[in-house]
């Protein structure tokens, strides 16, 4: 119930509906000229159906109630039927409206539109044909039952049916058209207004004349009616029909109408009148529907034409605006279309290619650069004869005579039978691009020349170590990599000197793995098979995210430099050795002199003594004196030795607490160059938790240098890895230093520390003796052991709690 209340139409709409319904009843009453029948043209039926069609099915109940109220009011005012009969007749009317609206909506959908003849015919058949059966049946039965108006069922039925059908025909289309087009305030032109006026005059005139018996035939009214329907469709037809009905009613009432006089039987006249109106209404509606359909058809056609024209205009614009040249050729290759841009570029239209004595295509080819024209012609002819697509770059002359590079392409359009109908061509101006490419190539060539001219070799490798580039100079110098040389590893193995390869490869592998720049000096074999020293530097190129995308390797020939350095070093070594030998010779000569003086005296005295004793008689006195001198001078010699020892013995003042690691590092630095020269790899390992030691830094450093150099020299004649280890660690209360070589080992471990003992060709045999003396003066010990699998270990200790000597 609440739902029904919620669906209530606006009161004003209900009020208008009730008023219109009562007005329709009044019209029917007026036209009910047959006394007592009360049945005539029933306009409320059309109003009712149209109202229901315009509203949602959910509020139909409200309209049914409103209609009931209106009809009962009308009954009270004019019809004066018994109340039950009035209610029953209204029930018939309501049933008719609901049935008609429901059927029409089912057939035509919602909202109902009457745009075509088919829709109109369905509307008439259901609304004006079938729906009135309800009213007719219920109304006729009621009249018969209540014995009203002196009618029985069968006489009343047609009157009811035709009255309602006419009402539906006249009112329903008009109401629908008025309400549906309410918003469409289509203004009528002056010409239309004039046409309406003339039509109204003719219509009224004919109606008045024909119905007033001045014209003999009532149906003369039909042409103006159809005119109205043709020209103004439903509105025209409906208004004309209402006017006709009103005029008919007036004449019928006055009894002066033709219909009034056709027959004496009121019933017959009634039926004739209703038939006249029904047929007129039916005709007018059908014509209006046809007219509307025709007009809509025309409208659609015009809209389609307009759309087509717009589309064509757009396409033309597109073809002209597209920043390329578009052209079409006949299957023979004759140009038949250039787009606007092409026309502007060439400075000629297709029509301008018509020249006596030459084909259109020849005229077009004249615009192609003379150098490119033969190729253009050949290529295009080939495409035309084979149907293969045409594609080419060529220079085309602009209207101002400047040639510009074009990239052109043409494809055939084939008909359904596969034959070529036309060729479509597209041509871009790529002049700027071509010049940019040329500039780029020029630049690349310049860079290439620069790279080739630089006195360096350049290689590049992918992150996978795959070789990606070798500069010309490299290929000239080292030779093009063999097919099996695909990556850095193979290349290194191929060209690096076998002695240098392990170190070089280890450095490179570490560099590749860590992504750090790395530098290698090694001997590389050139294309002549000669090894030359080079310095190679490799650096990674990274992308924005830090990923390595390429390794660049630059190598420089440093062979001359290395040779010069080696010569210099050899000279320095020789000089140093000579100087060392000289100073040692000097020193030993001085020592010898110092010792020889007293020794000479001792020996001479000894001989003298011997002579005094063996003389005859022995001169004991002189012998004693001589012996005294011998003792004195021998002591003197011993003093000399003591003094020499004192020379080597440093005073404790030069000692200080020092970290052994620092001393090792200094010794390593001093020996680094020599290690490189001798191709010895030093492996230094100093424990980190060592305390400072009280020592003479210079002496300990000398010991380290001496032992390191001995180790290197021991490996001079060794092939293979030259590895010299220096390990420093703590052993109980001392720090132990171990120097391991991989030389030939020690033959005389017992004698090697004795002064003047040497296994070296040019050695003085003092080194290890002095070393031992220095270490012992620090309270430590120096000794040798065998290294496994080969070589020697020289070890010395330095006590952590040093006793000051």
């Amino acid at each position: 119930m609440t739902g029904l209340w919620m669906q209530r139409p606006k009161l004003i709409h209900l009020g208008i509906f009730v008023a219109a319904y009562i007005a329709g009843c009044a019209f029917a009453q007026v036209l009910a000229f047959m006394p007592g029948t009360g049945i005539s043209i029933w306009l409320p039926s059309g109003l009712f159906i149209a109202t229901l069609l315009l509203n949602s099915g959910r509020n139909w109940a409200w309209w049914v109630v409103a209609g009931c109220f209106a009809e009962l009011v009308a009954n009270m005012l004019w019809f004066h039927s018994p109340f039950p009969a009035a209610v029953l007749i209204y029930a018939g009317n309501a049933l008719e409206a609901v049935t008609g609206a429901w059927l029409i909506r089912r057939a035509l959908g919602h909202p109902v539109r009457l745009d075509t003849l088919q829709q109109m015919l369905i509307f008439i058949a259901l609304g004006a044909g079938i729906a009135p059966i309800m009213t007719a049946t219920v109304g006729a039965a009621t009249v018969d039952w209540f014995d009203m108006l002196s009618q029985n069922f069968w006489t009343a039925w047609p009157l009811f049916w035709i009255g309602d059908a006419t009402g539906v025909l006249i009112v329903a289309p008009l109401a629908l058209a008025v309400f549906q087009n309410w918003g469409e305030t289509s203004r009528l032109s002056t010409a239309q207004w004039m046409e309406i006026s003339i039509l109204a005059l003719i219509f009224l005139g004919i109606a008045a004349l024909s119905l007033g018996h001045y014209l003999s035939f009532t149906y003369i009214i039909v042409p103006p009616l159809l005119w109205a329907a043709v020209r103004f469709e439903f509105k025209g037809a409906a208004i004309a029909l209402i006017l006709l009905a009103l005029i008919t009613a007036v004449f019928t009432m006055s009894g002066t109408g033709e219909l009034a006089g056709v027959s004496d039987s009121p019933k017959e006249r009634h039926i004739l009148l209703q038939l006249f109106l029904a047929i007129s209404a039916f005709s007018a509606m059908v014509v209006a529907a046809i007219s509307r359909q025709h007009r809509l058809g025309l409208l659609t056609l015009r809209q389609s034409m307009d759309a087509l024209r717009d589309r064509q205009w757009e396409l033309t614009q597109l073809v002209n605006v597209v920043p390329s040249h578009l052209w079409r050729l006949t299957p023979d290759g004759e140009p038949i279309f250039f787009n606007r841009r092409m026309v502007d570029f060439l400075g000629m239209k297709v029509a301008d290619t018509d020249r006596p004595g030459s084909t259109r295509l020849d005229v077009l080819i004249e615009a192609v650069h003379p150098t490119d024209a033969p190729d253009f012609r050949t290529s295009l002819k080939h495409s035309l004869s084979t149907g293969e697509p045409f594609a080419m770059r060529y220079r085309l002359r602009r209207a101002d005579g400047v040639y510009r590079w074009m990239s052109s392409r043409a494809d055939p359009l084939r008909g359904e039978d596969g034959r070529i109908v036309q060729w479509y061509g597209l041509c871009h101006d790529i002049d700027d691009q071509v010049h940019a490419e040329q500039a780029l190539r020029e630049r690349e060539r310049g860079l290439q020349e620069l790279v080739d001219a630089l006195p360096i070799n350049i290689l590049s490798f992918a992150p996978s170590r795959k070789m990606t580039y070798a500069s010309k100079r490299y290929i000239d110098k080292v030779g093009a990599p063999q097919p099996h040389i695909e990556n850095f590893d193979a290349l290194a193995r191929e060209v690096a000197h076998p002695e240098d390869f392990p170190k070089m490869f280890a450095v490179a592998s570490h560099g590749f793995a860590s992504g750090q720049l790395f530098v290698n000096r090694f001997r590389r074999r050139d294309s002549q098979g000669i090894y030359r020293w080079i310095e190679a530097r490799a650096q990674p190129l990274r992308d924005a995210s830090g990923e390595i995308v390429q390794w660049y390797m630059v190598s420089i020939d440093i062979d001359d430099e290395m040779q010069a350095q080696q010569a210099l070093r050899a000279a320095q070594d020789s000089l140093a050795r000579q100087s060392q030998a000289a100073s040692l010779a000097e020193l030993s000569a001085s020592i010898a002199h110092e010792v020889n003086q007293p020794l000479a005296a001792v020996i001479a005295n000894s001989y003298a003594c011997h002579r005094w004793l063996t003389a005859d008689p022995p001169n004991i006195e002189r012998a004693n004196k001589t012996v005294d001198r011998i003792i004195r001078d021998a002591n003197s010699a011993a003093d000399v030795v003591s003094r020499i020892r004192a020379l080597f013995k440093q005073s404790a003042d030069t000692r200080a607490y020092t970290m052994i690691g620092n001393v090792v590092a200094e010794a390593q630095n001093l020996m680094a160059e020599e290690a490189t020269r001798r191709r010895v790899q030093m492996d230094i390992d100093v424990a980190s938790d060592l305390p400072a030691i009280f020592m003479d830094v210079v002496q300990v450093k000398q010991v380290l240098i001496n032992l390191l150099r001995n180790g290197m020299e021991a490996m001079d004649s060794v092939s293979g890895d030259k590895m010299l280890g220096l390990h420093v660690h703590r052993v109980e209360t001392a720090i132990q230093v171990e120097i391991r070589d991989r030389g030939h080992g020690i033959e005389n471990p017992d004698r090697m520390f004795e002064p003047f003992f040497t296994t070296k060709e040019h050695g003085m045999g003092m080194g290890l003796a002095i070393c031992r003396s220095i270490i012992e003066s620090h309270g430590g010990r120096l000794w040798a052991e065998r290294n496994e699998p080969q070589g020697a270990i020289l070890l010395f200790t330095l006590p952590i709690e040093l006793k000051v000597l």
């Binding site: 010779a585 000569a589 010898a592 002199h593 020889n596 003086q597 007293p598 020794l599 000479a600 005296a601 001792v602 020996i603 001479a604 005295n605 000894s606 001989y607 003298a608 003594c609 002579r611 005094w612 003389a615 001169n619 002189r622 004196k625 001589t626 001198r629 004195r632 001078d633 003197s636």
Partner: protein, 125 residues
Amino acid sequence: MSQVKRIVAVVDDDPRVLESLEELLESAGYATRSFGSAGALLNGGISNIDLLITDIGMPTIDGFELRDRVKRERPDLPVFLITGRHEIADQGRAQGVGGIFQKPFDGQALLAAVGDALQHKGKGG
């Protein structure tokens, strides 16, 4: 013992060597004159000596120079050079010259050489 003792002059800046040579030569029956420097010998005169033994390495006038000066005055005087520096004995200046003894020298050999020299001199003169 009526034979007049031959006089051997010895020059050395080291008194120990000087003493020991004096002792050795006297034990062999020579008379000796000892000088601490070349200058002292030259000042005293060389006319009455029969043989000269001189150290090489000495300040001011060394043994070579002393020998040269003595030879200019007395070319026939036998001169023996002694040295504690072996490299001097190897020097070019000393090459080809007889009578160089390296300290410590063999006493017998020195006495034999002195004896030879004086005997030759005696025979010759």
